[in-house]
Symmetry: D2
Subunit: 271 residues, 4 copies
Amino acid sequence: MAKLSENRWGKSEIRISKIHRSDGSDDFSDLAVQVLLQGDVESAHTGGDNRAVLPTDTMRNTVYCLAQDHLTRDLEAFASFLCDHFLDRDVTRAAVTISERLWSQAGATGFIGGNSERRTARVAKGAGEIGTWAGIEGLVVLKTTGSAFSGYPKDAFTVLPETEDRILATSVTATWRYSTLPEDATKTWETARETLVERFFTDWSASAQHQGWLMAVGLLEAVPEIDRVDLHLPNQHHLPFDISRFGLEDRGTVFHPVSEPYGDIGLTVTR
Amino acid sequence: MAKLSENRWGKSEIRISKIHRSDGSDDFSDLAVQVLLQGDVESAHTGGDNRAVLPTDTMRNTVYCLAQDHLTRDLEAFASFLCDHFLDRDVTRAAVTISERLWSQAGATGFIGGNSERRTARVAKGAGEIGTWAGIEGLVVLKTTGSAFSGYPKDAFTVLPETEDRILATSVTATWRYSTLPEDATKTWETARETLVERFFTDWSASAQHQGWLMAVGLLEAVPEIDRVDLHLPNQHHLPFDISRFGLEDRGTVFHPVSEPYGDIGLTVTR
Amino acid sequence: MAKLSENRWGKSEIRISKIHRSDGSDDFSDLAVQVLLQGDVESAHTGGDNRAVLPTDTMRNTVYCLAQDHLTRDLEAFASFLCDHFLDRDVTRAAVTISERLWSQAGATGFIGGNSERRTARVAKGAGEIGTWAGIEGLVVLKTTGSAFSGYPKDAFTVLPETEDRILATSVTATWRYSTLPEDATKTWETARETLVERFFTDWSASAQHQGWLMAVGLLEAVPEIDRVDLHLPNQHHLPFDISRFGLEDRGTVFHPVSEPYGDIGLTVTR
Amino acid sequence: MAKLSENRWGKSEIRISKIHRSDGSDDFSDLAVQVLLQGDVESAHTGGDNRAVLPTDTMRNTVYCLAQDHLTRDLEAFASFLCDHFLDRDVTRAAVTISERLWSQAGATGFIGGNSERRTARVAKGAGEIGTWAGIEGLVVLKTTGSAFSGYPKDAFTVLPETEDRILATSVTATWRYSTLPEDATKTWETARETLVERFFTDWSASAQHQGWLMAVGLLEAVPEIDRVDLHLPNQHHLPFDISRFGLEDRGTVFHPVSEPYGDIGLTVTR
């Protein structure tokens, strides 16, 4: 009596990043891809026969593997290529939707993701801990080179490979305390922001900890009114996606950005 | 046996926007303010005696009323002024924290809030509705003048005052369909984005509906490959905060941005 | 050359709560309503003629005013009544969508909104502040009576009316420290949760501060292993919506829940 | 001139689920764990020397591996065990914070996560598609057994292992259309909800598609006024965490819940 009127299955929120390397400078793509298929899959629904049900995990792997050769800045071309690929399988319709997060280029290998930046200010008076703090939240920065992580201790639970060159990305939360109020608080804030950005993109680092230290020291040097810096640098991991598992040459340009879990790095630096 | 070891009370997420008008062009502040007080309020906790409990609603009103004269771009100065104001009441400590959302100036009275902009692409092939769509999500734009709303029907439930000049702010979601694929999809997307932004800031409108129409028509004119435009323009209301209730002159620069509810405007325009 | 193919306008996220009072006990509705209309409004889009554009602010007011007499637990009946009301205006189609947040009844006038409750545990060892803490986050509770707020100081910015009976709603975050580890940590957590809930619903309070004190004292009494309680009680305001502005009798059952700003109450109680 | 005043590093949002199997019925834990360490790591910050920096990836693996034997319902005991483990490494302080999402047991192997459930209603009148729909959003259900996925097509990008028994979890969005209005809309909604829940927990399924079909058919059978059911069943994957990589026996009770990407399953069933 009941009949299947419509069906669709697919994978949503396939997050993929890609470095487009070229001689002078890198370009960077950060995408969330959705694949939705339709097919003659009535028996899968009514009888549990999966012979026509392409697994959504396969769709995900397909997106990563085909991205290495076929993903350029032309998103429509990549979506079209993926549709054609899936139509070669046992489906009647393929729809691919891509949502690209936009980053601003900052130098040859640096990018700023302007998605949630806020200036903060805090004043406390009266009893207890009092003073004036300024800060920044949600300053999202990423560099495609200039960061390493190696030489760390190993134990039975270590599988992380050492690396001398990786993507480093974080959403900076910085708070600094003024021992003396600067004359122009807004201009001083702009100097502080520029310093944080420049030290992130310019200084090579051996770890997020090391990078944070260089940023904090830079802040103390650039703004004499600051006597204390608190930095929170959650590590927004971009994991290499291992394409060689699928018999393909892995050229190291395709990554899997993950939201959870994240490395949680904090430090406080004083004069 | 139990004793009150610490206390704090206040108001969080006091959202306030202010137009800093000047001759050549406007400036714009968009803040979330938190006020937190401490005091000798043990009897309020243990016995329900509220004589020393400044209501959090009063804190909120205070922030709006004092903003008209005292809020500049120097956030620390405004936070400090508020602390002093509250310390004149019956409290032992005042802390004010301000978080400013950053907007980029676009012309004399226009602002772009770059917080969540995404480029979208969608291709569908096979059976059913097929084609290529491109679009943009989270393009947040605001103008301090150049938009009216009047002449609408009234009934028993109408209290909205008519206005010939107001803040208009929205987060544009636009999707357009290509009848022919453009040669350079990325360049075409940039042209489309610029057109949407320019028509929003340049064209006077009698309503969000009118503004949307002008933007859609602009898109059809600018990009010949487009044959259909879908626009979603949620109205991000900035309500005038009535300062005259408190016996102060109201100069029309202080607003209360509200997230809920929002006007929900959509339109589809074809050739 | 361009033509308006589709249009829709309306109001989304109209948040409304209503107490359904009866002799033995209250019932409670917590809704988000969306109204979307379509009409012959081509001239509004193309020429800025608003004569057929019912303001979305009027839609909002309509929902609150009609809720007093017509909103029961039958959501479909209320949505249908609203559609009929708007079809009497100058529109060709009306669609009303309601989303109800579900609360569990807890006694005659108490409700628990089970939407985000989490048990927390924290252990720190080594240098610095060490110990074992347990807690709860996102315990959302609301009572329709049994809470007052009056007797507070007034100044030039005070407009809040004093009340001896109001809705009190909060999302409890509680953290407590164990001086001695309880034998059964899970059972002890359940006792703690029950105590917090019972003291919120059973004890009359003169303020959120007073309610928090009674809850903290209850916890210290119920669980001897606890030596310190931290409570955070953001006040989830349900503001009375003034229906009398529209010439209707106001029976005090219709409220406007607001997310921003919120009263921010915290306290620490020790033995 | 600058000195490191404080440091902390760790891993946040380590999401882990565990089935506590017993004869009569299963129990289920769903946790987010944060590990934060402090140590004598000044040279890591100032000089990039990582010899004392335990990688946050190792912390993550440690949590999964130790969970198999040591995670019970006593969260404080597990947190304490983890602290002791990390204090054996080169650190001066370890803090572990656990946040547990609470599920309600529903039968021997079923669980309902009551975190966001909403009842929906929708009425449209006038021109175009009109009618009355009811529905539910955010009905989160999980079963530890009674679901398989095998017999699907393989290609070069397939690595998913076939399974005859897995965790199946989803957040049900269901919308149904009434051809005739039921007499008691609220009671009918409750019947519909109970039917969806029962068919999810009781019926064995060969896929999410199969499970959805059985739920939709159950709804059509239970409520004669319904003539169409739309179901959206995003697959909330709980991936087995491979403990055998670390030389440990893998007993199949420890899982890694992932938010992104997710399988996206939809179907429409009519009479």
